[in-house]
Symmetry: C2
Subunit: 255 residues, 2 copies
């Protein structure tokens, strides 16, 4: 997976597993968390799929996103209960057996030593696809799992955060996508032309426009993104000059 | 799409469109909002895909989810700026032209009459795939779009909320999935067996387990779901009896 090409873009897919997200009961926090973490690693989140606790659906999504991207992450479904089927689904995707990982078993034995011991349900959290490594979990014992380019993480956001921490700096990435934000108390429809022309003039940059309605007024933040710091600065300069010329005041850093 | 089968399950897919979600800049609120609204309509959200502002990616996701489900919803990318390409992508998916919808144009002309008039950028928001109807937007003028089983909605959550309101009661659904929650100050790993057996004893029910860590203690909410009210009550009864028998106190309604 190593590369000497500085322009190589690394991508990741994310599969969020859980009926509770699709029912609206739980508001997902992992998409934004994984997305922000990946940015810092120089890896772009290219696609997310949210699927129910149904083996065939998990397999389909994992298969599609692991082959289309450098890395695949999943959140959810690695706990001790009957609806936690991510390990089985991934093992089946890869055509390998599910085994009890000796280190995971030892971690759980220690973690539950004074909490009633390692029951059959708790031992489920030591099950991994054959050939997997563990991702440390300093929050609650049960580790995350890494096999090939697939990373299985918890559904509970603060546990996922700990697992991401453990992975920091271990995945090869590319140049991180830098960004600068310009805020404007102007309807985006008034400056659409300016945005389009600024983007066209700087082909290494993308400009996103994010409208808002606050304090009784409309406005928008314009986010310029690029892996090239110089081109990013140039594009921001072009955009600010054009806004000023058209009589729109703006706030560097965003509103 | 009508059906006399009371057990017919209606499903929907959701495509969330926007670089800002994949970069972690914006925390998505539309997944939970659309999911909760669909529940009330008797429609299950079967899958969500989050894709960037890239035409090929939008087309791929729209095509996959519109054929796999009764309904497809999209959020994002229907504004006035250059990065708003959802209408073009959907028109291309369906093999139809993009036209200016006369009613949408009239709505926007009125809305912008005292706000500088209908510029070229604003007119972009009247563009629809040929053959589409409009979904009213009482928040900000620019309407949502419905064509076949596809519903294009705004990215800004409160505007999407207004569009969902306008659609309430217009889509055929099935029996809504009812649910009851039982909370327990117990690690889910201690009751995993009880949950599995209660679910097995009531095949029309699913039980989800959602652990939490609060006030220094672990606990979990168990959500029993079924379209059959009687079976739901029976399953909750089985679960509560088994919890009581094993010495776990529990809170009906959840913690």
């Amino acid at each position: 997976m190593s590369s000497n090409n500085p322009d190589r873009v690394y991508t990741a897919g994310l599969v969020v597993i859980g009926d509770e997200i699709l029912s609206g009961r739980t508001h997902d926090k992992n998409i934004a968390q994984v997305a922000s973490w990946l940015q810092v690693q120089g890896i772009r989140l290219a696609e997310v799929r949210v699927v129910p606790d149904v083996e065939a659906k998990i397999i389909e999504a994992v298969n599609a996103l692991r082959s289309a991207n450098d890395y695949l992450f999943t959140t959810g479904g690695i706990g001790p209960t009957h609806d936690d089927i991510t390990v089985d689904a991934v093992a089946q995707t890869l055509g390998v057996d599910v085994i009890v990982h000796p280190t995971a078993r030892a971690i759980l034995e220690k973690y539950y030593a004074e909490k009633g011991g390692l029951t059959e349900a708790r031992l489920r959290m030591a099950r991994v696809p054959d050939g997997a490594e563990l991702i440390p979990n300093r929050m609650s014992g049960a580790p995350g799992i890494r096999i090939g380019n697939i990373h299985l993480m918890a559904g509970v956001p603060h546990i996922t955060a700990g697992m991401l921490d453990a992975l920091t700096g271990t995945l090869e990435g590319g140049m991180p996508l830098k960004n600068e934000t310009i805020g404007c108390w102007t309807a985006e429809s008034e400056v659409a032309d300016i945005l389009r022309k600024a983007e066209q003039a700087h082909e290494k940059c993308q400009i996103g426009s994010y409208p808002f309605f606050r304090e009784g007024k409309v406005g928008a933040n314009f986010v310029v993104r690029s892996t090239d710091a110089e081109e990013l600065a140039n594009c921001v300069h072009t955009l600010c000059e054009a806004l000023a010329e058209a009589g729109h005041s703006f706030t560097p850093g965003g509103i």
